[in-house]
Symmetry: D3
């Protein structure tokens, strides 16, 4: 307990193993501290999305990044 699913984009070569470990460990410890429960069974799942498959407000992250670069 619990199961935590992280859905993020794969950008700039993608998250490194170190970043993914830091995130998973951090979320697990945070949960454990706030709810005062053992987190030995906590599951963290990281799913990395192509920027063409992730949309905010109907616009792909690919397009959003392009627009941000033009600014």
């Amino acid at each position: 307990m619990p199961v935590i699913n992280v859905k993020m984009t794969k950008e700039d070569g993608g998250a490194t193993i170190e970043q993914k470990e830091e995130l998973s460990k951090g979320i697990t410890e945070l949960f454990s501290k706030i709810f005062n429960r053992s987190a030995s069974n906590a599951v963290v799942l990281i799913e990395e999305f192509n920027t063409d498959n992730y949309y905010i407000g109907g616009k792909s992250i690919t397009k959003i990044r392009e627009e941000q670069k033009l600014k």
Copy 2:
């Protein structure tokens, strides 16, 4: 708001960027129209599955497509 997750199979080379954009934009606008809410924060996530990983009634899409071709 909202978060919409689309799980579909990757067939015939997979969905094109244009198709994915049309789907994401269409769903976002539909939601916004029906609920009369801003959809600037709407997230659409598209996950494409190998046809060996998607089953209906215990049969893979791979097999279902093979059977459809025989008909």
Copy 3:
């Protein structure tokens, strides 16, 4: 095919059955039109969240709505 999961907040008494039907039917037809595939097996699942369980940028929808009312 496909499976589409809609996660939205329950506000103002929640979505009506008519709104949920319109959304599900609309998404199903949109998918069918764009990918030119039968959608007779398309599954749409609607999950409604308490506004205390949905966060954007670390802030709950409950708080976001309160701030919007003050403006």
Copy 4:
């Protein structure tokens, strides 16, 4: 970005609003710090499960808690 889904059990009256806010804010900040990206669009969704609907190793949390109390 990103979308983070937390599936946890509802125990001892359930998580308080303060606990849920602390968790969501903490995860959002952690993500932002590790990946050095803005998290203004980060979505955190918290789903609370009845202990009869959450199983580890084929055993419900309801039963696991009962066994822990006997120890």
Copy 5:
């Protein structure tokens, strides 16, 4: 390992605890047997949906059940 999410409708009073236990235990054992891996960390999550929130081919389970009764 693994995490298995079951999304089903709540009908006829809903699934009993016995049914949910049988399903979770059965899936866990099946996984363990097929992949020859320990399933002590397997998580099964059961989510029950109102029949107005579950659609197949754009039609709610509520309507599908009504039509089945008429036949």
Copy 6:
């Protein structure tokens, strides 16, 4: 009905098509038997995770497997 999502790690070359078929068919039949409902519309989705993207208790399956080999 229902939709069942299996999230597992990709190890030792990954699950074979035969294993995935056996799992999907087995889960579908189990569901059908327990709830005495037709499962012709049951959807099983299998998602395979890199062992660096799956964490238990804050530790990646990659690390857990390394430690198991040392024992």
